[in-house]
Amino acid sequence: MNFNKIDRILEKFSMQKSQSISILQDIQNEFSFLPLEVLRYVAKKLGVPFSLVYHLATFYKTFSLKRRGRHLINVCLGTACHIRGGVRILEKTERELNIKSGSTTVDSKFSLEIVRCIGCCSLAPVIRIDGDTHGRLTQEKIPRMLKKYE
């Protein structure tokens, strides 16, 4: 594991404990998840117990302790998406990828996660893959939508 990058991030926030969340956010941007050894390293560097860093990493939904796939699929289950059939979209995506939400495909291509409202309610039901928003989805459109990603 290359800890240089992590040192740079820690320095950016002047090693301040109060910036722990921002530090973890930057690390996650770098690695796409939070490897346990990195969390241990951060705890040591900040001079705080490992349990504290681990608590942060598990409390906030953004953070993932599991390695994510190349593409992150966020299925929106905000209220508007829910009443317009978001659950059916989620289930179809789960069946297509053969995984449950919160996990990653065996080939590490996709990670599937639920998000509570991305504020595109007029497009409900909505899925966001990486930066792209796919709206007005029906189950039929899911397989083709997934095929666009390599």
Binding site: K17, I21, L56, F63, T79, C117, C121, S122
Partner: protein
């Protein structure tokens, strides 16, 4: 960024603002403002911007036409949209391909492009200017309105609409106390949820002990379905900064934080840019504009925790800790961030400050109602035509928001409830549509204002499922500190899951109520204290819906999948396995499809033509597009089989000695006979008329249901050994007792409703020329095809009225009028049917009632009518009719036809039978048995005039009940159908995913008027297969 210079004094800045204002005023060239918030971008506005810029470049207009990229204009439904200044032309749903035309026609030639204008989906009326569109017209956009004027990335644009003038006013003329007083007098209350008076909150923090104070902007907009704060940060970030600067000045804070949701990358980008621009201008930092006021702002990005919207949790999160709330008091105003006095307001509250300072507290407090001043932004989403952000004066009614601004509910569905306040809020039912929206009234109704999410729900939303949804959300988001919240929500969710999956008991519902109260009372922070609201409010207004789930294992909204696996099959009165037969059609297996349909319904070809198809009303595809044309597909495969091999004879299960008599050979009687014959009973049908089929043969005209189709399907029933004795009325010569003596073990009465009701008008019986529709249609169907008269008036509202009118046109009547008391939308038949009648020259007078029959020399000469209008009533029941005084008019007529309802003619029965007050045959609703043992009844004779499919359902149920009766077993009632087979879905190609429902091919109007040839020609094989592929196959979901 290059053209930003640091401002060293208030005067410098004043001049800079003035010069920007002048610059905007002198702008004469057209400006295209393109809405490009997150929502607009998701719908492709960035591509539109690129295309517009290219089109401008091609015409070499770069110096003359400007494209301005703005934040959200609020009208999400119309995204991507553009407003063309200076004429304020509003174009909606722009695609990149439209760019060329917009430049060539509108910009260069001042021509409006009609197709791009917004139009009312119901009236089709088009609107040119933004302000004329109902969605905008009924709003008061003092906060959001600026979004459409400025480029959020350009601080000069904000200055050019007078931005930061309020800051100047404060710094140059007002003391801190004066600012606080102004905010207090304005009556502004917190827009984040609880509605605490903002001015008082500021005062507490100002007066709190300590030199170091903080202010925080809460932009952790976690309520699903609310995104107004994002829209403000994205579209007008400087306004939020200006509000915070004024607040910091008033409170005495030198540092501020914006805690923004990490899921809003564009908002983070724009507010960060705004902060760095403000720093360059000298609006943030030390000695701002040469005064002694110092202030700086940091951004803190949330990491995804709903509870961090709660102020104490948010503060702990900024401190870099786990965002758990803490006990209050001490309130943050006393002990907040890092233990110092802290004032927290949400984005919208901060955005209100500049306008209060600019226009004065008096001006502001004139908006709104007593106790709740100003405007509130709502995100109007869900089952609503005009999805978007709406800003309205507080105190406006829900009806105005949902109908005047929101344009009502899509697809002609009924409004059921609106959910406000997100997971902490509640549901407000249709009965309270006239509720004024303010903090107190919403709380009384069991909901809250919250951050302004307003989720509209129609009849297809299940309230139990919705409450379960919020509980699921909250059990995820509970921080876990309080037991009542952590465990209570979890248990509530489990019970509601049981209810929606058909496992719950009545006692569990009481437990839900008890538990909900405990969670409310025993939790520490706002999340737990309000977590029960969605449950308690749905229980308060929709308790019956919970009870139906528990008692009948039925979800009335057809949402709960465990109870309603396939809405089409579940709503079909006879429970045909719709998805499987559509799956078979998609694979070209038409024979199998017909066999499958005939397991539940012996009349595929008839129902494919005349069924009112309740299945299509609940088709899931209908939520996105037109529902699958289920009845047309049924007709196609039945016709296909007729033209080829013919119907297969179903197998007969065993042979029984008992005989059953069926009286009446309409759909109910024949279906009973069909099912009884399959069970092995020797079944005879007695029919009074010379032909079999009941209304199928003598009621429905041949252009809608050809006689040979009826005959073919009846023949297929006779092939099972059913004997139909026509011209054999039951009554005088052959009584029910006689039948029993002849050895019939059971008798099923299905004689229908063939008697037309009277109009109840004077002279109805005295004049010649008044006839009954049923008798008239029977006469025509039996071969007497004589023109009844030239000028016809038909009084009625149903299929039969329209059928009568169209028959008259075919027989040569020149003027055919229908009088219908209600509006076109309320007419209980398909639009296509009404349109066909209109095409054939039938005139329908909607909202009209007859009041006087006119006659001369013993003959009818006309009908005097009066117009009505629909009065106000609650939205779910039909609206009252009010007659319009002085609107009387006369329609000349030589014949008046009564078609205003039918009743059964039960004179043939002896006095043993119980008859209801509405003159219908009385039966046990479970077994269909009359008070006379062994005699059963069903269909129109029991229900009054109903649909063909309901009659078939009655026949099917009667057969099962009679079978139990003869075997001496207790009849358990009708079992809910389940799919009969599993048909694998077909992988669709890209083109197939975009398939649209094909229009039904029709016979030309000329040909129609000359004969009784069938009007609807049916789908071709190709059309049917394509249409079958549109089915979403709900049956295959687990």
């Amino acid at each position: 960024m290059k053209n930003i210079m640091k401002m060293h004094s208030i005067n410098d800045f004043k001049q800079a603002i003035e010069s920007q204002i002048q610059k905007r005023k002198s702008e004469e060239n057209p400006v295209l403002t393109v809405s490009a918030g997150t929502c607009g971008r998701a719908r492709g506005s960035l591509k539109v911007i690129k295309a517009l810029k290219n089109a401008i470049k091609k015409k070499k207009l770069e110096d003359k036409v400007k494209v301005k990229v703005t934040g959200c204009h609020g009208f999400c439904e119309a995204e991507p949209n553009i407003i063309i200044h200076p004429h304020n032309i509003f174009y909606q749903k722009i695609e990149p391909k439209n760019a060329k035309d917009i430049i060539a026609q509108t910009i260069l030639n001042n021509k409006i492009i009609e197709q791009l204008l917004y139009f009312n989906p119901i009236t089709k009326e088009k609107y040119i200017q933004e302000n004329d569109i109902p969605f905008y017209k009924h709003q008061k956009r003092i906060i959001l309105g600026d979004n459409a004027l400025i480029d959020p990335k350009d601080v000069n644009d904000y200055l050019s609409i007078g931005g930061y003038s309020s800051l100047i006013k404060v710094l140059s003329k007002m003391s801190s106390e004066e600012v606080i007083n102004a905010v207090k007098q304005s009556g502004l209350r917190g827009r984040g949820g609880a509605g605490f008076p903002t001015g008082s909150k500021w005062e507490f923090t100002r007066k709190a002990n300590g030199n170091t104070k903080f202010i925080i902007c809460n932009a952790d907009e976690g309520d699903p379905g609310a995104y107004m704060d994002r829209s403000l940060l994205e579209g007008n970030p400087h306004r939020v900064l200006e509000g915070m600067l004024i607040g910091a000045y008033a409170i005495g804070a030198e540092e501020g934080y914006i805690y923004v949701r990490g899921e809003y990358p564009l908002a983070v980008e724009h507010i960060s840019l705004a902060i760095s621009q403000a720093k360059k201008l000298g609006l943030l930092g030390k000695s701002i504009l040469g005064t002694s006021f110092n202030f700086q702002i940091h951004i803190s990005k949330g990491a995804g925790a709903f509870v961090c919207g709660e102020e104490t949790a948010l503060i702990t999160s900024i401190e870099g800790k786990v965002g758990e709330p803490r006990q209050r008091p001490p309130f943050p105003a006393v002990k907040g961030l890092w233990g110092k006095p802290t004032n927290i307001n949400n984005v919208e509250t901060w955005a209100n400050i500049p306008v209060i300072i600019e226009k004065g507290a008096d001006w502001y407090s004139k908006i709104g109602i007593n106790g709740s001043k100003g405007t509130k932004i709502f995100s109007l989403v869900g089952k609503i035509n005009n999805t978007g952000l709406v800003e309205v004066p507080i105190g406006i009614t829900l009806r105005e928001i949902i109908y005047d601004i929101g344009g009502g509910i899509p697809a002609g569905k009924n409004f059921k409830a609106v959910q406000t306040g997100g997971p902490s809020g509640g549901c407000i039912p249709a009965e309270l549509l006239d509720l004024q929206v303010d903090y107190e009234k919403l709380a009384e109704a069991g909901s809250i204002m919250g951050s302004g999410g307003m989720i509209v729900m129609d009849e297809n939303t299940c309230m139990v499922d919705l409450a379960k949804y919020f509980l699921n959300f909250l059990r995820d988001e509970s921080c876990g500190k309080c037991l009542s919240c952590r465990e209570g929500i979890q248990r509530l969710w489990e019970i509601l899951t049981d209810i929606t999956e058909g496992r719950a008991t009545r006692e569990q519902l009481d437990l839900v109520e008890e538990l909900a109260r405990i969670v409310k009372d025993a939790s520490m922070c706002g999340l737990g204290q309000t977590a029960s609201n969605p449950v308690l409010s749905t229980l308060r207004y929709f308790r019956d819906e919970y009870e139906v789930h528990i008692r009948d294992k039925w979800c009335p909204a057809l949402v709960c999948k465990r109870l309603i696996p396939t809405p089409c099959q579940d709503t079909c009165p006879v429970g045909i396995d719709v998805p499987s037969y559509i799956g078979l059609i998609a694979r070209g297996k038409f024979n199998e499809a017909v066999d499958l349909i005939r397991e539940d319904n012996p009349f595929p070809a008839i129902c494919g033509r005349v069924c009112n198809h309740p299945c299509e009303l609940n088709c899931k595809m209908g939520e996105f597009d037109k529902p699958v044309a289920i009845h047309s597909l049924k007709r196609f495969c039945a016709d296909y089989v007729f033209q080829n091999e013919g119907y297969k004879r179903p197998s007969i299960q065993g042979k029984r000695e008992e005989r059953v008599a069926v009286i009446g050979s309409g759909p109910a009687g024949l279906t009973a006979a069909y099912n009884l014959a399959q069970l092995g009973y020797r079944t005879n049908v007695f029919e009074a008329l010379p032909v079999a089929g009941g209304m199928l043969s003598v009621g429905i005209p041949a252009y809608r249901l050809p006689k040979e189709i009826v005959k073919a399907e009846i023949d297929a029933i006779c092939a099972l050994g059913v004997e139909i004795k026509t011209n054999t009325p039951i009554g005088k010569d052959l009584s029910i007792d006689d039948l029993k003596q002849q050895g019939y073990k059971a008798i099923f009465i299905a004689t229908g409703a063939h008697k037309s009701l009277k109009l109840g008008l004077p002279r109805e019986d005295g004049l010649k020329g008044i006839i009954d529709c049923v008798a008239f249609l029977k006469d025509v169907n039996l071969g007497n095809q004589k023109k009844p008269g030239d000028k016809i008036v038909i009084v009625g509202d149903d299929y039969i009225a329209v059928d009568t009118a169209r028959v008259c046109r075919r027989l040569g009547s020149s003027e055919v009028n229908i009088i219908y008391k209600r509006s076109k939308e309320e007419m209980p038949l398909d639009d296509s049917e009404i349109d066909q009648a209109l095409d054939e020259g039938v005139k329908i007078h909607f909202l009209t009632i007859p009041c006087k029959i006119l006659g001369k020399e013993g003959k009818v000469t006309g009908l005097q009518c009066i117009h009505t209008q629909l009065g106000e009533a609650d939205i779910r029941s039909r609206r009252d009719l009010i007659t319009v005084e002085g609107s009387e008019f006369v329609i000349d007529a030589d014949i008046i036809i009564r078609a205003a309802g039918q009743a059964p003619d039960l004179a043939f029965l002896d006095h043993m039978f119980e008859i209801t007050q509405s003159n219908l045959l009385s039966i046990d609703p479970c077994t269909l048995q009359t008070n006379v043992p062994g005699v059963f009844a069903g269909g129109d004779a029991v229900t009054g005039p109903a649909t063909v499919i309901e009659a078939i359902a009655a026949g099917k149920k009667a057969a099962a009940s009679i079978d139990s009766y003869i075997r001496g077993k207790k009849f358990e009632g009708y079992k809910r159908p389940r799919p009969r087979m599993r048909i694998e879905p077909i992988q669709l190609t890209k083109e197939e995913e975009e398939l649209k429902r094909p229009e039904m091919p029709l016979l030309s109007v000329d040909k129609r008027l000359q004969s009784f040839e069938e009007v609807e020609l049916g789908y071709t094989e190709e059309m049917a297969i394509c249409e079958a592929k549109r089915c979403r196959r709900c049956d295959l979901e687990k």
